[in-house]
């Protein structure tokens, strides 16, 4: 079936090329929202190949992107009003930056596509514009050696393409910078929330069931009261780690994500302490501080993968200390919490 964004064809010396709309349909908007919540995110793809916007000719620019539909949609929307070619690389549905890190958005695939779609027959200027974040996988000088095509690095964000084109295809320092503002972080939170997958049901369920244990056997009433509380505490720690910490990232003290997460997790725990949600015995309260801290700090540490400024060496250093402590705290807290069922 022909995708809805195709609205015509452009005839070239190498056959017909599909022309795409530069507007998002209601369907595109809806799918974007769904994919931001991780629904169908692993199979949100467009077919790799050559596309056109407007009425491009042999002098028009070629913009390269990945076949993750979200990347493709942002590019075609940014090309509104321009006559251009779009060359979509096969990145297995992964966005440009991540695919470049893996090498699927890379020299080999770009060289292959330039040849396969006979770009030398379609355009006469021998240059392609690659998003700057693709540079992690693409080697401009190797592409030049292998194909004769020049790689021009465009802006980080598709939204800057118009001003990039207007300024003579030069990306300003501003366009080259990756920032991580609040709105960008908020857009990632829905996917972060789905991180726990089925553990999100499994772990609270285990707590809920075990909450019924008591010195005399098992009590359904205790499961309801203690278990309900346990589920609330766990969920709060989860939210602390994968919603509050990412959203408030620059304003939480410490450089280490694990410490940021611990700070937020414990702030919530202190709040819950005053709300009498952490149980009556000191032993149980301490257990909850350990569990909630561990959950929040672990999830916050995982946000390094979504952030745009953490280095592998840095994350390694951070984890060397944090991961064993997180595991120890979670285990001690869990055992402590079970013991409190019997005292």
């Amino acid at each position: 079936m022909k995708p809805g964004f195709i609205n015509g064809t452009i005839t070239t010396p190498n056959g017909d090329v599909p022309r795409v709309s530069t507007k998002w349909s209601r369907q595109d908007v809806w799918s974007t929202i769904k994919v931001r919540w991780a629904f169908g995110r692993n199979n949100y793809q467009v077919r790799p190949g050559l596309y056109a916007t407007g009425s491009p000719d042999s002098t028009s620019k070629v913009y390269v992107t990945s076949n993750f539909k979200l990347s493709f949609d942002h590019l075609r929307r940014a090309l509104d009003g321009l006559n251009a070619w779009i060359l979509v690389l096969d990145t297995k549905g992964v966005n440009v930056w991540c695919a470049a890190g893996k090498g699927t958005f890379g020299t080999r695939e770009l060289v292959y596509r330039i040849r396969a779609h006979k770009l030398d027959k379609i355009i006469d200027h021998q240059a392609v514009i690659v998003p700057q974040l693709g540079a992690t996988g693409v080697s401009a000088h190797e592409v030049k050696t292998q194909t004769g095509f020049k790689v021009v690095y465009g802006p980080v964000r598709a939204a800057d393409i118009k001003s990039f084109a207007e300024s003579g295809y030069k990306a300003t320092p501003e366009m080259r910078m990756v920032k991580f503002p609040l709105w960008d972080r908020l857009k990632l939170i829905p996917v972060e929330l789905t991180y726990g997958k089925y553990y999100l049901l499994l772990i609270p369920a285990v707590f809920f069931i075990l909450a019924g244990l008591n010195p005399h056997g098992y009590s359904i009433d205790a499961a309801w009261s203690n278990g309900g509380r346990a589920v609330i505490n766990l969920m709060a720690a989860y939210v602390a780690g994968c919603v509050l910490t990412p959203a408030l990232l620059p304003w939480i003290p410490f450089k280490r994500f694990s410490l940021k997460g611990l700070t937020v997790g414990w702030l919530i725990a202190v709040l819950f302490l005053f709300l009498n949600l952490l149980g009556s015995s000191v032993f149980e309260k301490i257990s909850w501080f350990l569990i909630m801290g561990a959950v929040s700090t672990f999830l916050a540490m995982n946000f390094t993968g979504s952030s745009t400024f953490t280095s592998l060496s840095g994350v390694r250093k951070e984890m060397k200390l944090s991961l064993p402590l997180q595991i120890a705290a979670a285990a001690t807290g869990f055992i402590g919490w079970i013991i409190t069922r019997f005292i």
Binding site: R41, N42, N43, T91, K92, G93, V94, N95, W97, C98, A99, A100, G101, K102, T104, Q132, L133, A135, T136, G137, V138, S139, A140, H141, Y153, V156, A171, P173, R176, M177, V178, K179, F180, P181, L249, P250, K255, R256, F257, M301, N302, T304, G305, S306, S307, T308, F309, T310, S311, L312, S313, G314, V315, R316, K317, E318, M319, L323
Partner: protein, 99 residues
């Protein structure tokens, strides 16, 4: 907005200024303004901003830059530990994809 920074003095980025031909490609591809330019040569201005993405190394025609690049991602590192391989993220499900 001020740039966010991560842990200091951990980054593996090196630039051999003897080899630099002054093409400025590293400045073009770096997402965090790590490099600057002085007397026809690039130099590392802001090493702690480096996120080890490897774009500069890949695009330096003289091979003057080296960095141990990879994903700065805790989940990826855990995956690596579990599989005994290099850090690799596969958060988007299918086996050979990432992030």
């Amino acid at each position: 907005m001020k740039q966010l920074t991560y842990l200091k003095k951990v980054v593996t980025l090196e630039l051999d200024m003897q080899k630099c031909n002054g093409c400025k490609m590293c400045i073009t591809v770096c997402p965090h303004e790590v490099f600057d330019f002085r007397e026809k040569k690039a130099f590392i201005k802001n090493k702690d901003q480096c996120m080890e993405c490897g774009a500069c190394e890949k695009n330096c025609p003289e091979g003057a830059i080296s960095v141990r690049s990879g994903v700065g991602c805790a989940a990826g590192i855990i995956n690596g530990i579990l599989r005994g391989s290099e850090p690799s993220c596969d958060c988007s499900g299918t086996k050979d994809s990432c992030c």
